[in-house]
């Protein structure tokens, strides 16, 4: 690493340490004067504002390793695209190159400058030429959010189009920052992690490309990071200019709109950044941590930087009345300022809004609570008819969405609802210029099996996507220690897990049947299935009022408590029946077990068709017969056209029950069938409120 140099501030004369030999400008830590390094005395570029205190993982001197190359953070820019300020840190790599690390709403992005040549440069110039003077006209432009932009061989998704401001800077930078200058940018995305910013501020477009990274990928040295306490921003208390009620602003650096909890008036900060009528249209919510980079447009020479607007310290910001919400009664399902731990993250409810879509003359409202994480990022809690979902921002380019479905990675989500969503009311603070009546196009896609979904929202200037995850009311209640004081869910939620899982039930039913078959095989091998008596007897009586009695020879049943099958067959029977009333008599104990069966056979011709009934055979199974020496008493009655037929009796011990192996699988199959019916009813209720209700042709 470089050996520190020193120079004297031309404004205040203080000693200024310069750690990098490659930095172009450095900020005096005493008087905030921006100094341009030259061969002789540094040139005074004017004073810049103190950066707004933001939650951050970096400071000057923070060291890390990215892609195997060590780097040291030298300085930062603080920028604002209308959604509150954020930091872009300039890091000098060990090989002399510079990285830009952007921190936006809890996400981290690493950028490097990418040369624009050939077709890519032509395409970038074309984009600059199409950049509208009025961003409201973007919906007619092919540069609008959601459009594809081809730069050379690469096709990018336009995620955001807008104007921004470089607010201030500190430390050492490799470029001369255009502090206070309004910039024009197009944020681009490709896939889940690739991002780029096309800066159209200057005559010649410039491109920064990079990717979203995790903290771990930066290999930060904790010893060089700021103290943990410095990453937490203190709340401030202000008075509502409309009702004089006290308001607690939890995220003062980013609060561009505050809706008073007492009188519901919507307020804007008086420092100008959130004022009504600002040139940049209201950015939408759930910003996916878009690129936001501006350094490609930072002129390497130019006029001295002045103090930017909106640089007042966060704690001193005041708010002015912007809009009254007289006709609505905002009520947050969870009180603003409530802190909790959700999915392992410490969060604070700082804002609430009700949004709604109109379909078939009916408004369908839902509420969204803005959660601020301790690391500076934002989540959303979405509540609809008592059903909850956690919404987290994802890269828009990671989603391939059509009218019917959306793909995120390997998961496909089905379209559920879509339409023009209107902000009905707001309460609390927001990091963008929200107002009642704001509109955006929303499309929600679901994967009910995983209880997850994705939401794609777009305005002409911005495309924002969120992942949605079902939350049980009990989990929300526990996260914020609400003791169950939440609205009761009504109907079936969009992401609510279906309690019935027919596929799993059918799999278990099939597995049970297989196990039963295996058991049948095992018992088939264990059971003797032994014929213990097999005799021809008869003849049977020729008239129904007669009966013959036979006493058989003794036979032995060796297996205790085994079943016994008695089969009666009369092959000669043609037009009649044979009834057998029998008794198994244990010769040693005198215990009698009685049974009965009959054989019959009839046949004839009716209407030219021959028919027959019965097979001349009857079977009965006697259960749990004790072992012993047995004799049978057989009382036979019968009738067969006046003829007495011979008959045959066979007794088999320990008969395997194949039929019962199948019958015993029926309860599980019935369970699966009921699960299937319940699943279908649940899904029909879920999709009833969608754009694709079951049973309706599309």
């Amino acid at each position: 690493m470089s050996v520190a140099q020193h120079m004297r501030c031309t404004h205040c004369g203080a000693d200024v340490e310069v750690a990098s030999a490659l930095s172009l400008v450095v900020t005096c830590g005493h008087c905030n004067t921006l100094l341009l390094r030259t061969d002789v005395e540094p040139e005074d570029l004017g004073r810049v504002a103190l950066p707004v205190q933001l939650a951050t993982r970096f400071q000057r001197g923070t060291e890390g390793t990215y892609n195997g190359v060590p780097f040291t953070v030298r300085g930062r820019l603080q920028l604002d695209h209308g959604a509150g300020p954020w930091n872009e840190w300039a890091a000098e790599r060990a090989d002399g190159e510079w990285l830009w690390i952007a921190e936006a709403q809890g996400e981290l992005y690493v950028f490097g400058e990418a040369p624009l040549t050939g077709e890519a440069a032509d395409a970038a110039r074309g984009a600059a030429a199409r950049f509208p003077r009025d961003l409201e006209a973007l919906h007619e432009s092919d540069l609008r959010a959601g459009a594809q932009l081809r730069l050379g061989t690469q096709t990018w998704l336009v995620c955001e189009v807008g104007r921004g401001t470089v607010l201030t800077c500190d430390g050492e930078l490799p470029v001369r920052p255009p502090v206070g200058t309004q910039t024009r940018y197009v944020d681009l995305g490709r896939g889940e992690r690739s991002v780029a910013t096309l800066d159209l501020t200057r005559a010649e477009p410039e491109l920064l490309t990079g990717k979203r990274v995790t903290v771990d990928e930066l290999g930060l040295d904790p010893a060089t990071q700021p103290e943990a306490a410095a990453t937490r921003i203190e709340a401030i208390r202000v008075r509502c200019p409309e009702c004089d009620g006290e308001l607690v602003i939890h995220d003062p650096a980013h609060a561009l709109r505050v809706a008073c909890e007492h009188c519901h008036a919507i307020l804007a900060p008086e420092d100008g950044r959130g004022a009504a009528g600002a040139e940049t249209p209201p950015p939408r919510r759930r910003k996916g941590g878009g690129v936001q980079g501006l350094m490609a447009g930072a002129p390497k020479a130019g006029p001295a930087a002045g103090a930017p607007k909106g640089s007042a310290a966060a704690g001193q910001r005041l708010f002015a009345l912007l809009e009254a919400q007289a006709k609505v009664q905002p009520r947050s399902p969870i009180a603003l300022g409530t802190q909790g731990t959700l999915r392992g993250e410490s969060v604070t409810v700082i804002g609430a809004m009700q949004r709604r879509v109109r379909a078939g003359g009916t408004w369908y409202p839902w509420r969204e609570l803005l959660l601020r994480r301790d690391d500076g990022g934002y989540w959303w809690l979405v509540e609809s008819a008592g059903h909850w979902a956690l919404a987290r921002p994802i890269a828009p380019a990671a989603i391939e969405a059509t009218a019917a479905e959306a793909r995120l990675g390997q998961v496909t989500f089905r379209h559920f609802t879509g339409g023009k969503a209107e902000v009905h009311w707001v309460l609390g603070e927001f990091y963008w210029r929200v107002g009642s009546g704001d509109m955006s196009t929303v499309a929600d896609y679901v994967d009910p099996k995983r209880a997850r979904g994705v939401s794609v929202e777009r305005t002409p200037t911005e495309l924002a996507c969120t992942s949605l995850e079902h939350l049980a009311g009990s989990e929300v209640s526990a996260a914020f220690d609400l003791n169950g004081a939440l609205p009761e869910p009504v109907g079936v939620g969009m992401l609510q897990p279906n309690p019935s899982r027919p596929r799993e039930a059918w799999n278990v039913a099939l597995a049970t049947l297989c196990a039963l078959i295996m058991l049948r095989v095992v018992f088939g091998a264990m059971h003797a299935n032994e014929v213990v008596y097999d005799q021809d007897l008869g003849p049977a009586p020729a008239t129904t009022d007669a009966e013959t009695i036979d006493l058989t020879e003794p036979f032995e049943l060796r297996q205790a408590r085994a079943n016994v099958r008695i089969e009666l067959t009369s092959p000669g029977i043609a037009q009649g029946w044979l009834g057998l009333t029998g008794a198994l008599v244990d010769e040693r104990t005198g215990v009698v077990t009685t049974f009965a069966t009959e054989a019959q056979r009839y046949s004839g011709v009716s209407g030219g068709e021959s028919w027959s009934e019965g097979r001349g055979k009857g079977t009965t199974l006697v259960g749990s017969v004790p072992s012993g020496l047995y004799r049978m008493r057989l009382a036979v009655q019968g009738y067969d056209s006046g003829l007495g037929r011979n008959y045959h009796v066979r007794v088999t011990s320990q008969v395997p029950r194949t039929l019962w192996a199948f019958l015993m699988s029926l309860p599980v199959a019935l369970f699966a069938l009921v699960a299937t019916i319940r699943w279908a009813r649940f899904e029909a209720l879920r999709w009833r409120d969608s754009d694709h209700p079951w049973g309706e042709s599309e």
């Binding site: 039963l516 016994v564 009834g579 008794a583 015993m664």
Partner: protein, 67 residues
């Protein structure tokens, strides 16, 4: 992902286990739904003398059938 043992899944596995246990019981204990043990024991003489129309326990056990 580790499957959760929720009540629905517990019920499913109880039913499946009951089916397997039920079948094993039927096979092991020789359960069948035919046959009936008469209320009295019979001697060899009674057995031999039992005839149609008599009121021996064998006919009693079968009710009116065979009379």
């Amino acid at each position: 992902m580790k499957p959760k043992l929720d009540p629905w899944r517990i019920a499913l596995f109880i039913v499946a286990f009951a089916c397997l246990a039920g079948y094993a019981y039927i096979e092991a204990r020789g359960v069948a739904f035919g046959g009936r043990v008469a209320p009295e024991r019979v001697t060899a003489e009674q057995l031999r003398s039992s005839r149609s129309g008599s009121s021996t326990f064998i006919y009693w056990a079968h009710g009116s059938r065979g009379k």
